[in-house]
């Protein structure tokens, strides 16, 4: 038999939203990369909702873009409706959400992958990871790995020798789809499941668990009566996701979505058939997400609600299929049809694809370092739903970081780790690797304690520099961001230093805008803080101002209007960073730290935090344990210094 052996730098397993970002990052950093998928036709597939973005997820897409990822650019090319959510709220919770043309999204991403230098697409099921034991001395100081990855094997017998592997298997591992009593052993959308890799992972000591999620039915658009629904339009002026997209390029004709509601009749049918739901019948063992409950969950848990929203959203421009948002279900087909047909506008609906629940293998991400590398296996990284998250955006964000760090490892550079004060991506990954997660993890703005600083509007100012240093953002782009920053700073300073006197025309101007007259001189910045005034309104009494672009003005307004709040969060961040900077050596033996409480000791041994800051966020580790740990680390360092001196 001939041996089919291929050499490459990186293998990415899975070509969903995580896998695409991971593979593109590695290839763009000059590494030979192979991306594996069970079906080339399903690259960047959106098997559930037809949206990109949304609250807090829009932030993630912006951050991915600022770091040099692809998702933002791809949705800008393929969206069919776009909205900025929460526009009436503070800037920190403004969130972009776009309806995607699913097929087009997938096609465009495939095109990007196919044209990427150093990147090979391979349709094959990876069924085994190949590792070898590794010596402590061959590893960097902060590594505690006992094995190193050296390749993967496909089901058809090929061996790919490589330096790093990024697992982005999504919902495919040992996947099982449930539609009432009908159970199929497939991945999403009837695609082939990956049934072999799980065993290989277990053999390597990786702990797997089972999560589930679900999706609603798709309807034939011709069978829907839209006259009984509320039409929902996109924004008049569309704002692109990507900082690199010209805003003029996204002012397209948009399609509408539709809003309707369930009613008592719907709920009655569901209640009457609960015993046929695989979840309530106990057939499903996986844990589902609380934030996108099935319609049967909503009816059971919120029994007092007489109706629930249903969003009818197009799946694309070249299809009739409509997505029924809000009514995901694992009830049997006959119940589904009956239930959907009680909803106004869906009385005569025809189902194209059934709603179903899907169960899959994934990991408890506490096995990962903040770089998304497995603690125990050097060179093995992972991202996306495999890590116990949910959502396209969460997946893409992790895929990007996992890919970048696989590349950084091979290139011998320091890992890119964003902290909680730098990015939602930092919050996402820190939550995953530090906290106990019992359900697929979804991003939320309330999870970001410094959210006033982590806005979608300033993702470029926060992260371009990191993208540039990583090598995914070009010098020109980075320098443009620096220029923007300079313009903002200069304008803020000018507004603070320009004092407006109590001259007659100024008083008249203020009165005309319902604002109090001046008693003494006031800076333009101070005036801007009045709710009834804005940068634009003030142009009347500020004739000498430079002509600035909208994005610069936006930053100037936010910095001035919310200065007090922002300053407070910045002070908190300073405190936070001190603890993040205190590193915990990889070889620390917590059993030697006798004064730790037992629970804390066990948690620390399990999680092996990299910094005192991370340790402090592990549940069960008290402030007193942190004090003890600080004293121990001081002792450890002093001893090390003494040893060092002695050996000199």
């Amino acid at each position: 038999m001939l041996q089919n052996k291929i050499q490459t730098d990186v293998c990415v397993v899975g070509a969903g939203h995580a896998g695409c970002e991971a593979a593109l990052a590695c290839a763009r950093l000059g590494l030979d990369t192979v991306i594996f998928t069970v079906s080339v036709d399903s690259i960047a597939l959106m098997p559930c909702n037809p949206n990109v973005g949304g609250t807090s997820k829009g932030h993630l897409v912006r951050e991915i873009d600022a770091l040099g990822g692809e998702m933002g650019k791809n949705i800008d090319k393929t969206f069919i409706q776009s909205k900025m959510l929460n526009k009436s709220k503070g800037p920190a919770v403004h969130s972009l959400r776009a309806q995607a043309d699913k097929a087009e999204y997938s096609r465009q991403m495939r095109k990007v992958l196919e044209n990427q230098e150093h990147l090979t697409i391979r349709q094959a099921e990876v069924c085994e990871l190949i590792t070898e034991p590794c010596e402590k001395s061959s590893l960097p100081d902060d590594s505690i790995a006992t094995k190193r990855i050296i390749g993967v094997k496909t089901y058809t017998g090929a061996v790919y020798e490589c330096k790093a592997v990024v697992l982005c298997t999504g919902t495919y591992l040992k996947a099982r789809c449930l539609c009432g009593e009908a159970i199929t052993y497939t991945g999403p959308n009837g695609l082939q499941a990956a049934n072999h890799l799980s065993d290989s992972l277990r053999d390597l000591g990786i702990e797997l668990r089972r999560f589930k999620t679900g999706t609603p039915a798709r309807m034939d658009g011709r069978s829907i009566d839209y006259s009984k629904m509320e039409e929902q339009f996109g924004d008049e002026r569309v704002i692109p996701f990507s900082f690199s997209t010209d805003p003029e390029d996204v002012q397209i004709d948009q399609v509408s979505c539709w809003l309707t509601y369930t009613n008592e009749k719907t709920h009655e049918i569901i209640r009457a058939n609960l015993d046929r739901s695989p979840i309530y019948a106990g057939i499903i063992e996986g844990t589902g997400p609380r934030y996108c409950p099935s319609i049967e969950d909503k009816v059971v848990k919120f029994a007092d609600k007489d109706r629930h929203q249903v969003f009818i959203e197009p799946e694309g421009l070249h299809t009739n299929e409509m997505y029924v948002g809000g009514m995901s279900s694992s009830l049997p087909e006959d119940v589904q049809i009956a239930m959907y047909r009680t909803v106004p506008g869906l009385e005569n609906c025809k189902i194209v694809r059934n709603a179903y629940a899907i169960e899959y293998d994934c990991i408890d991400p506490k096995q990962l370092r903040p770089s998304l590398e497995f603690k125990d296996i050097r060179g093995l990284f992972s991202g996306g739903q495999f890590n116990g998250s949910s959502g396209y955006e969460e997946a893409a964000a992790q895929g990007l970081i996992a890919g970048v760090n696989a590349a950084m490892m091979i290139l011998g550079k320091e890992a890119v780790i964003l902290d909680r004060s730098q990015a939602y991506i930092g919050v996402l990954i820190d939550d995953l690797v530090t906290k106990e997660n019992f359900e697929p993890y979804r991003m939320m703005t309330s999870r970001a304690e410094y959210r006033l600083l982590l806005r979608q509007d300033n993702a470029d100012l926060r992260l371009r520099e990191i993208g540039y240093r990583t090598g995914l953002v070009s010098k020109e782009v980075y320098e443009a961001t620096l220029r923007k920053k300079e313009l903002i700073d200069r304008e803020v300073a000018r507004l603070k230093n320009t004092v407006v006197g109590a001259a007659k025309e100024n008083q008249e101007f203020l009165v005309s805008h319902g604002s109090a007259e001046l008693k003494t001189g006031m800076s333009l910045a101070e005036l801007m803080c009045r709710p009834e005034l804005s940068y634009e309104i003030l142009s009347e009494i500020d004739p000498d101002r430079e002509l600035l672009s909208d994005d610069v003005i936006e930053q100037v307004e936010i910095e001035i209007k919310y200065e007090g709040y922002l300053a407070r969060q910045l002070r908190q961040v300073e405190q936070f960073r001190k603890m993040e900077k205190k590193r915990i050596p990889a070889d620390i033996d917590y059993n030697d730290v006798k004064s730790l409480r037992l629970e804390a000791r066990q948690k620390l041994i399990t999680y092996k935090p990299v910094s005192v800051g991370q340790a402090s966020r592990i549940s069960g580790v008290s402030p007193a344990d942190i004090s003890v740990l600080l004293v121990y680390l001081e002792k450890y360092n002093r001893q090390k210094n003494d040893d060092g001196k002695r050996s000199e």
Binding site: N49, T55, S56, L85, N86, S88, K89, G90, A92, V93, L259, R290, Y291, C292, P293, K298, K301, F302, K305, H308, Q309, F311, G325, G326, S328, M444, T445, S446, R447, R451, L452, P531, Y562, Y565, Q575, F576, K578, M579, V593, K594, S595, L596, R597, S616, R617, S619, S622, P623, A624, I626, S627, V628, L630, V631, Y632, E634, K635, R638, Q639, D642
Partner: protein, 471 residues
């Protein structure tokens, strides 16, 4: 969440009494400035910053309006020549607990924060003052002091107070969850529709008022029961409640001639000779089938295990029995004063009888046996003198952690109050709703410190528990 603040810390460094001198220690970069703002020299001038290191000065501690609180001696030790190797100031004041607490509060208001248990020692070590060989000891001190503080922190709280705090927290997190649910799912929940801001403002003001009431009552000891934890034990109907009533000076416990009347635990804070005692009157300890009384007995046993001092009341007019043996068993190893009560009746029990009932003399740390009659208040003065004496001999003492915990509780209430003021301001300034929740969560976290609860996933759980989210 732990955050290392290089801030200035303060604590009462000595036990508290009316007679002695008390020391309040302040350590950190701003120690001198902070104390400077509350210290005046003999001529009423603000001079502390001018003093050299390792000098001691006479003067006064004053309130914001320059009202003199106490006459003090102040020592100044500049970094690095102090125990913590930081700027350190020690205020030697008159040891009354009210004065000391007042001074500590003034120092906290001036910008210090309460020291965590073992924090002076921790800083001394981290700053290199303590030798490497003592690292283990330092860690043990931090561990032990925190374990104690953890226990005392919650046990110091009166039940009703912790209920109020839980209620306030539930109110706060519910509103935060509503706002956050609306921000997360804006097509589902509409904040603007129903004048939510006005409703919220009222609610925040109501909650803030509750917190202010707690702060106000903290001063008169209603919130935070501190003092030497003293438990009155004895079999039923020997005069335990009568003793408490005499000490408190009013009829508080239900006193009847029917055995087993005090089914729950009554608790009073009593000042005897300038020393604060937190006295618990327990249900009589005896075998019982009555379910309610049984709970009382179990609680009594728990209280005994946490006590600093036991007052064992014996009815000297009736012989010892099985129930007395049970009591003796329960208080084994505890520092105890035995009150041979009902001395007005014919006595059948003497000191010798009690001793003969002890299997081993070391089982009980009996400091004194006193004959009393609650009916005539006989022997009460001797009893009071005895506890005073014991205190000054150091047989019983305050734990400094209790004081620190107490100050920390109040500090946390103040923090919560300040956060809610900020929320009110944000609402009045018509800031968007997402600004409110940040400070509301701070208030939630501050209140959690008092009852020993972290924030964790509370908000996410509340959002999903109360609001039907998601598509």
């Amino acid at each position: 969440m732990y955050s290392e603040k290089r801030e200035t810390i303060a604590a009462i460094a000595t036990a508290v009494s009316d007679a002695g001198i008390g020391i309040i220690r302040i350590s950190g970069n701003d120690a001198i400035e902070i104390v400077d703002s509350v210290y005046r020299n003999a001529r009423g001038e603000q001079t502390l910053k001018k003093y050299d290191s390792h000098t001691i000065h006479y003067g006064y501690i004053v309130e914001k309006d320059e009202t003199v609180i106490d006459e003090v001696m102040i020592s100044v030790m500049k970094a690095p020549k102090s125990y913590t190797m930081e700027n350190t100031v020690e205020i030697n004041c008159h040891g009354g607990m009210f004065i000391m607490r007042k001074i500590l509060e003034l120092v906290l208001q001036a910008g210090a924060r309460t020291a965590e248990p073992g924090e002076f020692t921790k800083r001394a070590f981290l700053n290199g003052r303590i030798d490497l060989s003592e690292a283990e000891a330092v860690m043990d001190i931090i561990h032990a002091k925190n374990e104690f503080a953890l226990k005392s922190s919650v046990s110091q709280l009166k039940g009703s107070v912790s209920d109020v705090i839980k209620e306030i927290r539930a109110d706060i997190i519910h509103e935060v969850a509503f706002i956050e649910a609306a921000l997360d799912d804006p097509e589902h929940f509409d904040l603007e529709a129903e004048g939510y801001d006005k409703m919220l403002l009222q609610k925040v003001k109501k909650v803030d008022k509750q917190i202010q009431n707690l702060i106000d009552s903290a001063d008169d000891g209603k919130v935070l029961a501190e003092g030497i934890r003293t438990v009155i034990v004895g079999k039923p109907n020997v005069g335990k409640s009568s003793l408490l009533n005499i000490l408190v000076g009013e009829e508080r416990a239900i006193v009847t001639d029917i055995a087993g009347t005090t089914r729950d635990i009554l608790e009073e804070t009593v000042v005897i000779g300038g020393i604060m005692f937190r006295i618990l009157d327990t249900a009589g300890i005896r075998s019982t089938r009555d379910a309610v009384e049984k709970i009382g007995v179990e609680r009594a046993q728990k209280a005994v295990s946490e006590a600093d001092l036991i007052l064992y009341v014996v009815d000297s007019s009736v012989p010892f029995d099985e129930n007395d043996r049970k009591v003796l068993e329960a208080i084994r190893g505890k520092r105890t004063i035995v009150l041979l009560n009902k001395s007005d009746l014919t006595s059948v029990i003497s000191e010798e009888t009690v001793h003969s009932f002890l299997a081993d003399e070391d089982d009980l740390h009996i400091s004194r046996m006193i004959k009393t009659s609650m009916k005539d208040k006989a022997g009460i003065q001797i009893f009071m003198d005895t506890v005073r004496e014991m205190f000054f001999h150091g047989d019983i003492s305050y734990h400094d952690e209790v004081y620190i915990t107490n100050a920390r509780h109040k500090e946390a209430l103040e923090e919560a109050h300040n956060s809610l003021i900020q929320v009110e301001k944000s609402i009045e300034d018509q800031m968007p709703e997402d600004f409110y929740t940040i400070d509301m969560m701070s208030a939630y976290a501050s209140l959690g410190k008092i009852i020993g609860e972290e924030v964790g996933e509370d908000l996410v759980n509340e959002i999903f528990g109360k609001f039907c989210m998601g598509k």
